[in-house]
């Protein structure tokens, strides 16, 4: 479980986040939604310590990240897996080397064991026989999946995914959403997914946090989302007529 308390973040004079309070539950896919540029990635980066918030705290199982010493921070980070918006695979390493990278850096395994572990992660994300290709030789969807494989290589307790299915075709996007859900349930991770894909909000929708104007504007699950009369939330989620029809149909079904 990760708790965020009263988090403020600015860049220079520009206030990006203001007074964010949120609880990210264990074994649950917690989704952060909001307009592009609303500060979703900044929030995630504050949570993992890549940005330092001016105010507020981030607690991992009740312990404040920013109060930890360097050693404790490092140990928390080794329990975090993160998939970046642009995958952030290392260009100069092959697929298998990318996945093995955290294991080589911190693992206590023999070379063969590492290879096996990396291969099982790759199999998990359904990347097979691509070991020796470089990231530039993969499609966007494959890069994302390799990014997930690298993120889960160390058996993380906390999994952050920044727009895991942006720029993917709808079918691949669904595969990735399902994969994240599966992994979350199987390993009981605290998963945070940043998305503005309404399809995946409707599919997953366990715990949704809507960021608007730098604040937590709304929070709830999918059923609550369908019934919410929050103006900005409705404008954002049900912007298209298709989504409005989906809403109608889902409400009349239940």
């Amino acid at each position: 479980m990760i708790t965020v308390e009263g988090l403020d973040k600015s860049f220079g004079d520009v206030r990006i986040l203001e007074g964010i309070d949120a609880i990210f539950r264990k074994g649950c896919v917690n989704q952060i939604i909001g307009r592009s540029g609303s500060g979703k990635s900044v929030l995630a980066k504050c949570m993992v310590g890549l940005h330092r918030p001016e105010e507020g705290r981030v607690l991992y199982e009740g312990r404040s990240f920013h109060d930890m010493n360097a050693e404790e921070k490092r140990s928390i980070r080794q329990r975090i897996g993160m998939l970046f918006q642009g995958s952030a695979l290392f260009d100069s390493l092959t697929v298998i080397e990318n996945v093995m990278f955290p294991l080589r850096m911190f693992g206590m395994m023999e070379k063969e064991e590492m290879r096996e572990r990396a291969n099982s992660c790759l199999k998990r994300v359904r990347i097979i026989d691509k070991d020796h290709l470089y990231p530039a030789e993969l499609s966007g969807g494959m890069q994302k999946r390799v990014g997930i494989a690298r993120a889960i290589a160390m058996n993380p307790e906390y999994l952050f995914c920044d727009e895991p299915n942006s720029g993917l075709d709808p079918q691949t996007a669904i595969v990735i959403d399902e994969l994240i859900k599966e992994l979350t349930e199987e390993f009981n991770t605290t998963t945070i997914v940043i998305t503005h894909d309404m399809n995946s909000v409707m599919e997953t929708g366990e715990h949704i946090i809507f960021i608007h104007k730098g604040r937590k504007w709304w929070e709830g699950n999918r059923d609550e989302l369908l019934r919410s009369d929050n103006k900005e939330l409705n404008e954002f989620v049900f912007a298209s007529s298709l989504m409005r029809q989906v809403k109608k149909a889902m409400i009349s079904n239940s």
Binding site: R74, I80, M82, F84, G86, A88, L89, F90, M105, M154
Partner: protein
């Protein structure tokens, strides 16, 4: 932003760079890779430049001091001195700042804008150490060899051009390059080379590491890396020459 801000942040980055490596064997294998990439792959341009510059130095020296009062071996002597003292360590380092410096800044800068450095930090890797330290070690180890090869080829180029064009006689030239040879001058040149290698690598890495934005900014960082490395090398050259030769 002010110069002081950059100087302060540069030294903070250096402190992080020299922090404890997570896994020494990984750093070492990266150093070997970088020696190949930054050193061995620069051999071609260093060799080409050195041979031609040596040739030009010899011919120019001869045409400028052509006088019955000056003995014939002086051409070889002058070629050797200008090669060892200045041309190989300083000019070649300036060239390497252009080639290696822009390469380092572009590589680290694009890792920054593609969030690969964030990915390292998230894993708990000391990203500055992992990315920069092997490059510093590699250039400081390999550049002295590049410069020694440059010295040899420059003098050889001078000899070849001088003899081929008939401006010097082989024996005179060889007498000249042996005359009053001080091994300390080579030491001085190598000390300069090592200091310049450190300057090129750290300044370029600094520019790359703090790149903000996108590919356009990577280009800007890369240009800055070359310009600032050159300026600092010229300044350091003056200081080192006074400290080591006076």
């Amino acid at each position: 932003m002010s110069v002081l801000f950059h100087i302060g942040r540069y030294f903070l980055l250096l402190r992080e760079t020299f922090g404890r490596p997570e896994r020494f064997s990984l750093y070492w294998s990266r150093t070997v890779e970088e020696m190949d990439l930054l050193g061995v792959k620069s051999l071609g341009i260093v060799a080409l430049l050195s041979a031609f510059m040596g040739a030009v130095i010899t011919i120019q020296t001869k045409t400028n001091i052509d006088s019955p009062l000056i003995q014939a071996w002086v051409v070889g002597f002058a070629t050797r001195q200008s090669t060892i003292l200045e041309f190989s360590p300083t000019v070649i380092s300036l060239i390497l700042a252009g080639k290696v410096g822009s390469n380092i800044a572009a590589e680290i800068g694009s890792m920054r804008v593609k969030e690969q450095i964030d990915a390292l930090d998230i894993m708990g890797v000391n990203s500055a150490g992992y990315l920069i330290l092997p490059k510093i070690a590699a250039t400081m180890l390999i550049n002295p060899f590049l410069i020694m090869i440059s010295m040899f080829l420059s003098i050889f180029g001078g000899w070849l051009a001088g003899v081929e064009t008939g401006v010097v006689v082989s024996e005179d030239f060889i007498q000249g390059i042996q005359a009053g040879f001080k091994p300390y001058h080579v030491v001085y040149a190598l000390v300069k080379t090592i200091v310049f290698a450190f300057i090129i690598t750290t300044i370029s890495a600094y520019q790359g590491y703090y790149t903000k934005g996108g590919t356009r900014e990577v280009g800007i960082s890369s240009t800055r890396a070359v310009v600032y490395s050159n300026v600092v090398i010229l300044f350091a050259n003056l200081v080192l020459t006074q400290a080591l030769l006076l």
